[in-house]
């Protein structure tokens, strides 16, 4: 009962929704690239890590906030482009396992470069910490960053929906996601589509980097690694075949993580990952194709 009361607490709810919003953005970044290229990008967290280091770099030199955020976007977008060119593009058409392991390698490559460059203790990004201060809304203390996160996520998702549904490049991306081969035959340029999707995913990674560094100002080489693992699980739990279900899955696991983290008694909070992973396994066993996907009917057998 105590657990329920804690979980229904407005404060916990708001924080959980804030975390869910950030996770949903990461889920879009992973889901978009998966949709277009059938590639699970394990290295997505390292893009966020790189962006966070850019922010820390700027903040240590007392550069203005805008410059820091600009640097963060530049670094993440450049890395995304390089990744697409050097790794993703040559692997197009390979099996999902090969591509996943290749991004595994990229992830460890970036992480060990960061370790070599910045050391295991990392750096701190402090230029935006005042966003951690709470404002009082209807008797609940809400940290400013939570509001910023929810609004930013809503804006980003709306922009993405407009892009996908109202522009021709969006149409091409949706076509490639449904059937890449037919789309190419009909004149959709595969390279352009994959570049654009990687760039959008990169921009979202930069946004996530900005918001995560506010909450966790210490940037280490494993920054955002745990979050990425959870989001990957969330995306598969939600259903990778559609962007919407992947996003919902990401939001859900962020929300569950925030809720459990806020409501578990402190003696058990260290087992939070076990609870979350246990939930993931349970959902996958019941709905292996995803929680928010319609059942596919018969499995193709020939």
């Amino acid at each position: 009962m105590n657990f329920l009361r804690e979980a229904l607490d407005l404060q916990v709810q708001v924080d959980a929704i804030g975390l869910g919003a950030v996770f949903a953005l990461m889920a879009v970044g992973i889901g978009l690239v998966f949709g277009v290229m059938r590639l699970v990008n394990f290295a997505y967290g390292q893009l966020i890590m790189a962006g966070a280091f850019a922010l820390a770099f700027a903040s240590e030199r007392d550069w203005p906030v805008g410059v820091g955020i600009g640097l963060c976007f530049a670094v993440v977008l450049a890395l995304s482009l390089a990744m697409e060119r050097v790794v993703f593009r040559p692997l197009r058409g390979q099996s999902a396992a090969v591509m996943l392991i290749a991004t595994f390698a990229v992830a460890f490559l970036l992480q060990s470069i960061a370790l070599l460059w910045f050391g295991p203790l990392g750096k701190t990004a402090t230029s935006l910490v005042e966003l951690n201060r709470p404002v009082e809304v209807a008797g609940v203390d809400i940290r400013k960053i939570t509001i910023v996160a929810i609004v930013t996520a809503a804006v980003c998702l709306t922009l993405l929906v407009v892009l996908l549904n109202r522009t021709s490049i969006g149409l091409h991306m949706r076509a490639a996601a449904i059937d890449a081969q037919t789309a190419r035959l009909l004149g959709v340029r595969a390279n352009l589509v994959s570049t654009v999707s990687v760039l959008i995913a990169g921009a979202l990674a930069a946004v996530v980097a900005v918001m995560l560094t506010v909450q966790f100002p210490t940037v280490t080489p494993t920054f955002a690694l745990q979050e990425t693992i959870l989001v990957l699980a969330g995306v598969v739990v939600g259903g990778m075949t559609r962007l919407l279900s992947a996003t919902l899955g990401g939001f859900l696991i962020g929300y569950a993580s925030g809720l459990l983290g806020g409501a578990l008694p402190s003696s058990q909070s260290q087992y939070l990952p076990s609870f979350l992973f246990g939930l993931v396994i349970l959902v996958l066993l019941i709905r292996p194709d995803g929680l928010f996907t319609r059942s596919r009917g018969l499995v193709e057998r020939v």
């Binding site: 392991i101 290749a102 390698a105 460890f108 060990s112 370790l115 699980a233 076990s274 066993l285």
Partner: protein, 338 residues
């Protein structure tokens, strides 16, 4: 002729491993460590291969079977007098039971196998990405529990004062046994049925193969072998639970993929190749003299080179160094004649 070819397929990896063992006996004690590490890597990677290679299903969870092997062998073979100091909250029967070297290895393997069987019972119904994520979730839970539940082990502390019994001889015997088991499995009717489901699930099902049952069996065997490898490892170096998590998962999968996922020969070649590369780079980090020139890499660069090599192999040769095929004299001759 067919028997001859089969013998070659088994002998090639065994001879390679034994050669590594013998070579290791002639180097200095500091370098001997590299050879023992490489041989334990062979056991681990071959254990993973038994499931991943034969079934074609990706598993990120095998290091959890390795980890419970480490835990079982470690916790049971620390001398009773030492246990209260490092593990004060241990369950009574764990703190009063101590076993010798070989029994602890067998228990490690058994615990790994039983754990894999229990995990596999529900999980083997999944395939593709869902299976990958679910096995990963198992790894996360295993790490989380071993890390904080101090009634079963040292938590985040190192498993200290485990008798260091894994020497070159034991590591070699272990690797040869694991290879022999993997070979026997993949030539058995169960192994062949599983490989059939890998190549064409629909056709395999049509001739009456139960995909679920074959995957489960292979998962349990592979967990058994991974547990054994974990036991060998903890008897070699004192480690803590975080040493058997993401990094080890990455490096062992890298070895398997670089060698060639679908063959035993590939698993062995990949493990030895990456271990060798890793050792040489490790030496270079400490400063190594080659042909009168000293190479001195900054520390931490070995993992950079290993991951770069892995990405490169995947881009240039997605089926691995061996192409995912077993060793064959005929092909060797064909290559030589070209």
């Amino acid at each position: 002729m067919r028997a001859g070819r089969a013998a070659v397929e088994l002998l090639a990896p065994v001879l390679l491993v034994v050669a590594a063992g013998i070579l290791g006996a002639f180097v200095s004690t500091t370098n001997e460590i590299y050879f023992i590490t490489a041989l334990i890597s062979v056991s681990t990677v071959v254990a993973i291969y038994v499931f991943v290679g034969n079934s074609g299903v990706l598993s990120f969870g095998h290091i959890s079977f390795f980890a419970v092997g480490v835990w079982a062998a470690g916790v049971l073979s620390i001398p009773e007098a030492e246990k209260p100091a490092t593990m004060p909250y241990l369950f009574h029967f764990l703190s009063t039971t101590t076993v010798g070297n070989v029994p602890s290895l067998l228990i490690a393997a058994a615990v790994g196998g039983v754990f894999a069987l229990l995990v596999g019972l529900p999980l083997m119904r999944l395939s593709g990405l869902a299976a990958g994520i679910a096995t990963f979730a198992v790894l996360g839970i295993t790490n989380n529990l071993l890390r904080y539940y101090e009634k079963i082990g040292p938590g985040l502390n190192t498993f200290s004062s485990v008798p260091e019994t894994t020497d070159l001889v034991q590591a070699t015997i272990g690797a040869v046994l694991v290879i022999a088991a993997a070979f026997a499995y993949q030539r058995s009717r169960f192994g062949r049925q599983l490989r059939a489901t890998r190549e064409d699930p629909a056709a395999a099902r049509a001739v009456g193969v139960s995909i679920y049952r074959q995957r489960l069996g292979s998962f349990a065997i592979s967990g058994f072998l991974a547990g054994l490898a974990g036991g060998l490892y903890i008897h070699f170096i004192p480690i803590n639970v975080d040493a058997v998590y993401l990094d080890l998962t990455f490096i062992t999968l890298a070895m398997l993929v670089i060698g060639g996922t679908t063959s035993l020969w590939g698993a062995v070649v990949g493990a030895l190749f990456v271990s060798g590369l890793d050792s040489v780079l490790g030496e270079m980090e400490d400063g190594m003299t080659v042909f009168g020139r000293t190479i001195d890499l900054p520390s931490g660069s070995r993992i950079i080179v290993v991951s770069a090599v892995m990405a490169l192999v995947l881009i240039v040769r997605p089926s691995g160094l061996t192409g995912g095929r077993e060793f064959s004299l005929d092909r060797l001759r064909a290559v030589a004649a070209r």
